[in-house]
């Protein structure tokens, strides 16, 4: 009975969304250049944020899973902090670092004339900040549960640390890496709070969640339709990935 309540809590809002959405306006909404731009931006930013998260998150997950060192628990806690941090706070925090008067931003601006906030890069950075922990946590769990004697076997067969990682560790934990990447991507796709704070509202940073929020203020029906479009796109991508990577292993 309680389990049914849980399912209802997850499913009912989506049913409500579909029920109340003015379906007739679907094509006019999709035709708006702002919407198409937002959809495209969302896909680009969340994919870029995922690539960034894997590139720097995998070495972190590996270090956390494979080495005993002082402060490891602290590093892990810090690495997953964005998961529990309100995204708006995350956005503000990013501004204090990358803003024109920020810790690094000032140096970037004075030295190279580079401004990060309110650009496409800010949107990517904000999404990666919020979504990377999902990848790190999943990847670390996968690395920990792997039998390390596979790595030992590779080392005795003449594989360096690097070769062992690429040829043995990564292939063996691939399901975890894919699951973590998908979680990370899905979280990045829906990111709103940090993005609007750090990247703001502009044609370069209006991802779907921002577009939905902006539309909602003038045209609540339109916002419902856009929400469904976002759900449909993310489901389509997840199913396509599943068919391609997870299905191939069965």
């Amino acid at each position: 009975m309680l389990a049914a309540c849980a399912v209802a809590l997850c499913v009912l809002p989506i049913v409500g969304l579909a029920w109340r959405a003015p379906w007739s306006s679907l094509f006019t909404q999709l035709g708006r250049p702002g919407v198409r731009n937002a959809l495209w931006l969302s896909l680009v930013c969340s994919s870029a944020a995922t690539i960034l998260s894997v590139a720097i998150g995998l070495p972190l997950a590996w270090t956390l899973a494979r080495f005993e060192f002082r402060g490891r628990r602290l590093v892990r806690a810090l690495a997953v902090l964005p998961m529990v941090l309100p995204p708006v706070v995350g956005g503000l925090a990013l501004l204090t670092v990358f803003g024109r008067r920020g810790l690094i931003g000032q140096w970037l601006y004075d030295g190279f004339g580079v401004t990060i906030p309110y650009t496409l890069w800010a949107a990517i950075l904000a999404e990666a900040f919020v979504a990377m922990p999902f990848f790190v946590v999943t990847a670390e769990a996968g690395l920990r549960s792997m039998d390390r004697r596979f790595e030992d076997a590779a080392r005795t067969l003449g594989a360096s640390r690097r070769t062992t990682f690429g040829r043995v560790t990564v292939p063996l934990v691939r399901p975890s890496l894919i699951a973590g990447g998908v979680l990370c991507w899905a979280r990045a796709l829906g990111e709103f709070g940090a993005t609007i704070t750090f990247a703001g509202d502009s044609p370069h940073t209006d991802t779907m969640p921002l577009q939905i929020f902006l539309t909602f203020q003038q045209d609540p029906g339109g916002a419902l339709v856009l929400s469904l479009v976002l759900i449909a796109v993310s489901l389509a991508v997840l199913i396509a990935l599943r068919g391609r990577w997870l299905g191939a292993q069965r």
Partner: protein, 262 residues
């Protein structure tokens, strides 16, 4: 800082220390200590080339730890591991040769074949890591599969192999790069009795044709007597006895091992 941050690769050669062993690079010597939590392994032994040393002892005696130290999967706290005049591990001199630069082959208890590779790719793995080209390493891997009685199974998935077949592939994989030191950790104990006798004779045959040092960890007296030229008895991290099967005194663990009913 981990041990792998120390300079890797072969350490420069140095004149062999004067001792009872011939300085011609044909023996493995290990003497030293390693602590793991509350357990401490303290050993001192040497094995000449062409000899199989069977390491026996009860569970938790440190048999696997002993092998891991020789393989370079675990550094010594104090002491020396040496093969011939190459020093593999000497913490006092900050010398360390990473496992991939030691000429060892390791056969694990349950094979540890890489499940994402085929049987043949598993055997070729070591050669590929050591820079042998794909075609050449595949050819050598096929030969080795033939030698362990698995000709034609190059493309077999690891999951399709029976326990005995998997262990033969593991043996072929360890031997394919022709290591100076072959380390075997209970290579027969995961097999059922019928396959076990068969695998024992495969093992005996390959041990006889291997010219280097062999270390065989086992808790089975038959394995120790039939495969070992010499036996080392390990109990609670200490060497109790060393000798040939004929000269060992049947005391302690060995007496229970040889005469389980008594």
């Amino acid at each position: 800082m981990t041990i792998d941050d120390l300079p890797a690769g072969h350490t420069p050669r140095q004149p062999a220390a004067p001792d009872e062993h011939p300085p011609d690079g044909s023996f493995l010597a290990c003497s030293g200590r390693r602590r793991l939590g509350r357990f401490e392994l303290a050993v001192d032994y040497a094995v000449p080339a062409g000899t199989t040393l069977a390491v026996v002892g009860p569970n938790g005696a440190g048999k696997t730890t002993l092998l891991r130290i020789v393989a370079g999967l675990l550094p010594l706290d104090t002491g020396v591991v040496r093969f011939g005049d190459a020093v593999w591990d000497a913490p006092a001199e900050r010398r360390w040769v990473a496992p991939e630069h030691r000429s060892v082959g390791f056969v694990f208890q349950d094979g540890m074949l890489f499940p994402h590779l085929s049987a043949g790719e598993n055997v070729a793995f070591g050669l590929r890591c050591r820079g042998v080209r794909r075609a050449r390493s595949a050819k050598v891997a096929r030969e080795w599969l033939g030698r362990v009685g698995l000709a034609g199974r190059f493309d077999a998935r690891v999951g399709e192999l029976s326990g005995g077949q998997a262990q033969r592939v593991a043996l072929a994989r360890a031997l394919a790069s022709e290591p100076d030191v072959l380390l075997m950790d209970e290579p027969l104990s995961a097999l059922d009795a019928r396959v076990r006798g068969e695998m024992r004779s495969v093992l005996a045959e390959h041990l006889a044709s291997h010219s280097g040092v062999r270390l065989l960890v086992t808790h089975d007296p038959t394995d120790a007597r039939t495969l070992g030229d010499r036996i080392l008895v390990l109990e609670e991290g200490r060497v109790c006895q060393q000798g040939t099967p004929e000269t060992l005194a049947p005391t302690g663990y060995l007496s229970r091992l040889l005469d389980p009913g008594g």
